[in-house]
Subunit: 543 residues, 2 copies
Amino acid sequence: MQALMMDRALTLPSILDYAARYHPDRQVVDRTVEGPIHRYGYADALLRTKRMANALVAMGVKPGDRVATLAWSTHRHFELYFAVTGIGAILHTINPRLSSEQIVWVANHAEDAFLFFDITFAGQVAALQAQMPRVGRFVAMTDAAHLPSEAPADALIYEDLIAANSEDFSWPELDERQASGLCYTSGTTGNPKGVLYSHRSTVLHAMALGLPDAFNFSARDVVMPCAQMYHANAWCTPYAAPLVGASLVLPGRALDGASIAELIEAEGVTFLLGVPTIWLGVADHLDQTGQRLTSVKTIAVGGSAPTAALISRIEDRLGGQVRQIWGMTETSPLGVINTPLPRHAGEDSAATLTRKVKQGRGLWGVDLRIMGEDGGELPRDGHSAGALQVRGPWVASAYFKHEGAEVFTDDGWFDTGDIATLDAEGYLRLTDRAKDVIKSGGEWISTLDLEDAVCSHPAVAMAAAVGVPHPKWDERPLLLVVLRPGQTADPEDLKAHVAARVARWWTPDEVRIVEALPIGPTGKVLKRELRDQLATPGRVPTP
Amino acid sequence: MQALMMDRALTLPSILDYAARYHPDRQVVDRTVEGPIHRYGYADALLRTKRMANALVAMGVKPGDRVATLAWSTHRHFELYFAVTGIGAILHTINPRLSSEQIVWVANHAEDAFLFFDITFAGQVAALQAQMPRVGRFVAMTDAAHLPSEAPADALIYEDLIAANSEDFSWPELDERQASGLCYTSGTTGNPKGVLYSHRSTVLHAMALGLPDAFNFSARDVVMPCAQMYHANAWCTPYAAPLVGASLVLPGRALDGASIAELIEAEGVTFLLGVPTIWLGVADHLDQTGQRLTSVKTIAVGGSAPTAALISRIEDRLGGQVRQIWGMTETSPLGVINTPLPRHAGEDSAATLTRKVKQGRGLWGVDLRIMGEDGGELPRDGHSAGALQVRGPWVASAYFKHEGAEVFTDDGWFDTGDIATLDAEGYLRLTDRAKDVIKSGGEWISTLDLEDAVCSHPAVAMAAAVGVPHPKWDERPLLLVVLRPGQTADPEDLKAHVAARVARWWTPDEVRIVEALPIGPTGKVLKRELRDQLATPGRVPTP
């Protein structure tokens, strides 16, 4: 029997409508690409968004069209988050850190019909224009005074569109399952793959993010995502913040420690999120200047797993508590989060750190399981490592155009490509990426554990463990280490440091100090590149 | 274009599955109808719920069947919340405060096929059995030792069913729009009308309830609903608490001050909800015993509007902050909630109280509008009073069997029957029930404002304003007042007290002190009954 409740679709424009009505003066603040800080309330943000919605319709954007952005975290990008999705089109946030070749590839694969770009990319876009023949309109996200001369000759100007269009616009009726966003994973193998979010998945994820044991968002918060808006929608915060009337601070292009610290303190930011290296940069800046931050309550850290030492350093220098998360573009991204349980009240600081280096526990909506090599589910015992698979209303069911279908199981789960354990308390602990795992004598060695072990040495800035061929054990670990500026260390000392912290047979045969490691567009070490370099006789790892 | 996200239905059993896995030891505590306190963790609650699911299937409950309860707030009722809905049947929570005639009427109207009853009602159920011919099975919610002799002869025993059935049960696939619950409003005009909740509406409402600016539920909370589980699902807390792993304390039958105060302190309750009179009872008990409560953080108050004096008294005696809500059975029930905004930080205590007597502000998901007598929308100016209409994914679209269709507008809104204003800050302020409004000289007089005004007098316990016919002004207000025990007051003094607080022409022509007022099954004054009594020459109001 069908219920008799209103069949109201869960749609993204309803979020901005709500914020404009009930939190008109709560702010969206950004560091513009042109330089100055821009700020307005949600009421004014809605009016400009409606102008842009009229502009999109006038320039021929149809429901289902892909509208691409090549843009930093700014108020104009925020407006497009709602204007594009609100008219039923699909916002394709391209990662500008991709190579030009990859940018062209994803734009063509997505069949983008419109491309909005920040002035940073004006020359690059002009150079690539001929290779993206489907893109019928380019729009420079600036005003006429700041349009670079190298931009495509026929590019429209965002502020001209805003000025020329009315703020009177009614959102069309939308199906909550229609696509709202497209974000490609920068996979390290094969071509990038597109995740096609729905209004429904995004709204449910935004609601779940706001709950107290997740991001705990209220109208008293000031949320600053330091994951760019092309990284899984800045972890969905541009939707989750207005849903509760939290202010939003968008850092623009500059994610260096000084720029971020300045915005945090000036805007009274309470909630930060981003990859660990961002917070290391902020901590270094604070060390150098002696500046103190006074407003931060929570720092959500994800993208790569921070060490205990790094967690301590972030908390000491930034104030606030670190909540690690694990997630992926395919999971919107929140999969698990590390929030203290009631039983953790009163634990000592060592126990707290041991807990905090785990990725976290499931929240309602996301089911997790660990699968063994034989395809059976492994016990949640904290040491049985296997393939992490997830399922839930904000998890992808397929990639755009059904590429890479092998990671979606027949029984409806997404295979993350991560190797992990789940413990009896429900904590997820990543041990490896499936493709990076070292298999030695038939057993797995966790590269993340080796890296964590060596990174706990004060001289070490970062590290990467890779498997190298071995005649007897198939593979043995090699640990490549980058030292902190001005530090020195003896490789044998580092090896001893690791040996004291991991299983005896995990100890790498060699620790090698290198100048740098190759880093990909999402800030992670490119281990495939590293293995290729190591396999080439006479080459040494280079960034 | 359809998105490519997993099409996972939002269903109620997923909530208990989650709590059992991630919060196995968080407690469901209740005062049983038999007397003792019962407690178990969510893991054990799930196992018993699955036994009951097997029992329901074995006794022939089919998807869509209505399974009625006549029961207090206990762990067995909690199990039925998930077992009945989890197998795809519909839980019909009958209000035992209804008259026997009304109970029979709603059971037959709902076409209940099964009826679970607490032993309190064993004799009543037996007496009514013949009048409910569709009910094929009666189940006494107790064990064999406590089965009253007067229960229906063929009644099954709940604990026997638990013992006889396996805890091995897999929830069937459910459509999120299928009906999960049925709750009749105890309307004061006409027959009761059934609200037919869906899994989807209930899950979305439970998620929204948990957000920090609503009920702010985390795994560190201990939630005690003092609205019975037949009152709009105890405001949905039996679903919202396990969704985040909060413990749940169910007070059973006893809602007197002593019983509630004892549970609050013994269980460390952090969150309370219920109608104002409950808290008055607790405050009186605390006054008498000198007992102090140490754990309460929030007291959500709804069902009727508390005065400023009552809010102060509740906060002073119980500890914690009052958050007023407005809602109805038809709104699941959360419609608006009064949570401080950032700009309220630092306001003085008088301003805080002025704010707290308003019903609250909208949250994402619930749209509100105020309609004038001409059918046009009124401005949100804080003084234009009109018909309050609401819309949202957890608002009813119709009543069961499409009774009372006139309150659902052609453009998709529910007309609440409340008269209210909305102000520029988004605050809703009820001024009346549409059917209770006093129209004098063509203008409305707010009965709630008159009652609030007189209740701020220290001698007054409760009050009811009603319109009485007047040859010139059509109606004029009469204010009936019940004094607090041991207090005396002069009616003319009370009139002067009111006159100082309301518009001059609102001042009642008469204030009359009475022994008591007629109270309905949800604890509200029955104004229709009152008007009928007043219209009968020679009668005086009696309870």
